[in-house]
Symmetry: C2
Subunit: 361 residues, 2 copies
């Protein structure tokens, strides 16, 4: 049995090995505190340093100006589907949503369940979400435009952000945050469940601009208010300390080992090209997303038959390649190749795909 | 510097050393998966086994019948302050709250902010929350009675649960869950932030009875509905995997090393007696909670002067005794002696307290 496999899981997903090793090595005695990071008080200097390090690294990596605050909130992106309309649409005004698949649709549903008057400004449902809509006619009175920058399940990604005419964008970046530089120009808020590109499950990073914070009403429950988290540096109550600690280590690795988001982007493009080029040159494998809309993070593909796909996934595991099964809602295969997945993993995957095709022929 | 200190933190707090060692040892390769527990998919057999193990152990330890479901929800007890009234008071009916200090008061506030017509049936605010109210006149039409079984900050604890005349109790047990057996008779729901007695921060255990689940309305956001978590075995979205995994290990330690809640209760009583007896026999240290209302988990005490308290806390740290500072809202000193704090820690604390008194005299 392989000690460590190549992990192509969609999330929770691979983490950088040096990060895991550092957690392991200091697990019984964090920074000479005599305690595990899981035992240290969140009101201590030790944890203050951890959370502030995660915040400062986020600001540097994304080149955030002082109008943005970095928050850590529990409940994953799904909680943000609820919180964004609750916080920003308290006065009866509307927001635009772009529907590019499963997660966008869930965001829309959670706004509608609160009777918020949102509008779906564009959708790619007509072609089973295999592309990203363009030239979208936004409503000028929208408080924000919501979109999912990368669609984990459908394998599509916005190559560049849409022009909203300065309406603030609220972006679910769960599966591509920190994978490339971002032009923050018209971005009002980014949120990202950590468990794909920046850490373990159990925390959602929220980057919010002051003009959106100013919209938050007073009369909502404390734990559902962005103002609570902004005013208390995400420590109104006990935060998910271990998850935030791991994020800080992943961001340190991004800055100091990888060298920042430009470098990460180059690596990610190289990884995705290797895989898409191989698939495009094959008659056996078929990519499901349209060119121009393809995700650099989640490469979705089909084999000629469902039986072959099942056998492909099983044999891959035997060869130390895990997590290649497509999402249960769409079937097929999917290789999630987030930041922590190295080029060696892609090379091994392509070699295996060649061999599998040959043996199936 | 001590490799490991005696940790008297109020939460996050001490975890059993064998649990920390098991996490450390398997951190790079969980159950021969070739992945860290932080990298394993929540939709995998590996994680299913983890969450179901945590649930089954909870059911055995608390002797739950089939009417109860065990859920894991993010956001800590503070999120439960919001969710309980939202889920159970949708039809305009009322609930009774007992106010025994900071956390009870916060629970009341989060119900009131939602305009739920709750009533404070009893309060110990008249004596700075140093006692637990008795003979409480509950309102017969209350949907539930809310109480905080142990008051981490004030150092008080319900010695036994009040007689509500079969109105279901909703109990915040964050700081004494699994510290002693519980008569589930009239308990409709228990919730507990994990970071005191059962795990790391980042997850709240919720034990809910079917009749309360039946009250949950359809038209609330998915992540705020107990029904969502009950119907999806707490995996509507990605759960806080690492925190749940640690809970499973702590409960295993409770069952297999300690021997269950009766044994744990005996140990906890012995630990608390050692400390309270020493304090009661001293003219230098003064316990702040009234006899009969004293917490077995959080022993709060004062020294003759604030300056001495500051010096006490500092010298204690130098002697490998951490976390003895009282909550910032009340001052003084506090020794949190949860399940994972051994009797050796209490003995060392008492020895230090004797020495400190002698040197201060």
């Amino acid at each position: 049995m392989h000690a460590r496999i190549h992990n192509f899981n969609a999330g929770p997903a691979a983490l950088p090995l040096p990060v895991l090793e550092e957690i392991k090595d200091s697990f019984l005695n964090f920074k000479e505190s005599g305690m595990s990071i899981t035992e240290v008080s969140h009101r201590s200097k030790w944890f203050d340093d951890v959370i502030n390090d995660a915040i400062e690294r986020t600001k540097r990596l994304l080149k955030l100006n002082d109008r943005y605050k970095v928050l850590f909130i529990q409940g994953g992106a799904s909680m943000q589907f609820c919180m964004a309309p609750l916080n920003f649409l308290s006065d009866g005004r509307s927001a635009d949503y772009i529907n590019t698949g499963t997660w966008s649709a869930k965001a829309i549903k959670e706004a509608e369940i609160q009777n918020k008057p949102i509008k779906v400004a564009a959708s790619s449902e007509d072609k089973n979400f295999c592309y990203i809509p363009e030239n979208i006619p936004f409503n000028k009175d929208a408080v924000y435009v919501h979109l999912t920058s990368n669609n984990t399940i459908k394998g599509t990604q916005f190559e560049s952000l849409p022009d909203t005419g300065h309406i603030p964008m609220v972006i679910d970046m769960s599966s591509d945050i920190m994978s490339r530089p971002v032009d923050m120009g018209d971005i009002g808020m980014i949120y990202a469940g950590a468990q794909k590109n920046i850490g373990p499950a159990g925390v959602c990073m929220v980057i919010i601009r002051q003009d959106l914070l100013d919209l938050v009403p007073d009369n909502i429950p404390s734990m559902l208010s962005y103002a609570t988290f902004a005013n208390k540096n995400s420590m109104f109550n006990t935060p998910p300390c271990f998850s935030i600690y791991t994020i800080a280590l992943v961001l340190k690795w991004l800055e100091e080992t990888i060298g920042g988001l430009e470098k990460m982007d180059m690596l990610n493009r190289k990884k995705a090209s290797l895989l898409y080029d191989f698939i495009d040159n094959s008659d056996f494998y078929n990519a499901t997303a349209e060119k121009g809309s393809r995700s650099l993070m989640n490469v979705t593909f089909r084999l000629p038959a469902a039986g072959l796909e099942k056998s492909f996934v099983e044999k891959a595991i035997d060869n130390g390649l895990g997590g290649l099964k497509g999402h249960r809602s769409v079937g097929g295969c999917r290789a999630s190749i987030y930041n922590a997945t190295g080029i060696d993993a892609i090379n091994d995957l392509v070699s295996f795909m060649k061999l599998f095709e040959k043996n199936a022929g």
